[in-house]
Amino acid sequence: MNWRRYCASAEDTQAAGQEFARVLRPGDVILLSGQLGNGKTTFAQGVAKGLGVRERVTSPTFTMVRQHECVNDLGISMLHHADVYRVESLVEVRELALGELVEDGAVALVEWGEIASSVFGRDVMNVDFVLEEDEGRTLVVSGALTLDRQEPLNQWASQ
């Protein structure tokens, strides 16, 4: 089962991210996949906005992971924004220990997360960024974590 949302522009992608924050709960790990330029970081910036992150969110390609404090009514106090594009081996991803860090009232967004999905186990959500012919993007949400989020995801996909 999956949920799809079309985004015509970067503004749309950011709005989709901002509203996606309402789907999240503490402890979630979200893997973002799609080619370079398909909107993963833009989406992450939207999610950060939706979670009440005040500071600027940039691509963590070179730092691998950045932490942002959040202020919201979702019980989420920290956003771990990771990008594993440059990793050489899964050991590096494992050493980030994101799956354990999120247990302290946090969520993790992992760009290129699908290349290391075995590190994260089954209970994740996947957001795939598919480039359309008209240069828009379709965001496709799937994964085991969606099973108990159907209502908020229906709402998210209907926007």
């Binding site: 370079l36 494992r94 699908e114 290349i115 075995s118 186990g121 209970d123």
Partner: protein
């Protein structure tokens, strides 16, 4: 021989000591996942109570997993610290066998499945036979709680599940027809100590992560920057 055991494979932080005079003491701290802050002061307090110095530890037994990644790193690094500082011998045990021995020491008999929470909906499991002694019947592996429960339902055998994974997924395991749950959140550090006391010392302690141990990233979906 003065032996110290370190147990950090689950959110609990636990340790035990046995002196050459045979005095045994253990300390099990809450499941706060604060191994970095809790382990070393805990060891200090424990050694103070049995009146031996850190330098007099001859052997360190450490749980090498599978379990909490952050916990294992702290536990193994601390064990290595003892080894470097005072030349203590090192022995690694696994969380799954320590759980089995802990259950055995508490009188559990028959078929036992040790279940350690692997996070993100997965568990680490191993099957044991607890009879005159503890015998492993399978290798440690990663599994889904529901599949483990299904498998034992189909087998129909009497089986006991133990470990923090059995507690976390009690809904699944309680549904197994002839299944029982033996409550044991933290592997017993005294059981780890007793197990490690009998083994030959090891040159290196390698963490047992089970997941993607030597895997390389799946780079096939990653395009070079354009």
């Amino acid at each position: 021989m003065n032996i110290l055991a370190i147990e950090t494979a689950t959110p609990g932080c636990a340790m035990a000591v046995r002196t050459s005079e045979g005095v045994e003491l253990e300390l099990v701290l809450g499941d706060e996942r604060h191994h970095t802050e809790a382990l070393t002061p805990g060891i200090r307090d424990l050694l103070y109570k049995v009146k031996i110095s850190a330098a007099s530890i001859d052997r360190v037994v450490v749980d090498r997993g599978p379990g909490l990644y952050t916990g294992l790193r702290v536990g193994i690094a601390t064990a290595l610290g003892f080894s470097v500082a005072s030349g203590a011998e090192l022995v690694g045990v696994t969380s799954l066998e320590v759980l089995a021995h802990g259950a055995f020491n508490s009188g559990v008999r028959g078929t036992l499945v040790s279940v350690v929470d692997g996070r993100r909906g997965e568990v680490f499991i191993q099957i044991f036979s607890l009879d005159a002694s503890v015998l492993a019947l399978s290798d440690p592996k990663v599994a889904l709680p529901r599949e483990v429960a299904l498998e034992w339902n189909q087998r129909g055998d009497v089986v006991t599940f133990t470990g923090d994974g059995a507690a976390r997924y009690a809904d699944e395991f309680a549904g197994v027809t002839h299944g029982l749950i033996f409550n044991q959140q933290v592997p017993s550090p005294l059981a780890a100590l007793a197990l490690g006391a009998l083994r030959a010392p090891q040159v290196a302690i390698v963490p047992l992560y089970l997941r993607e141990a030597d895997a390389v990233a799946n780079f096939t979906t990653r395009q070079p920057p354009s």
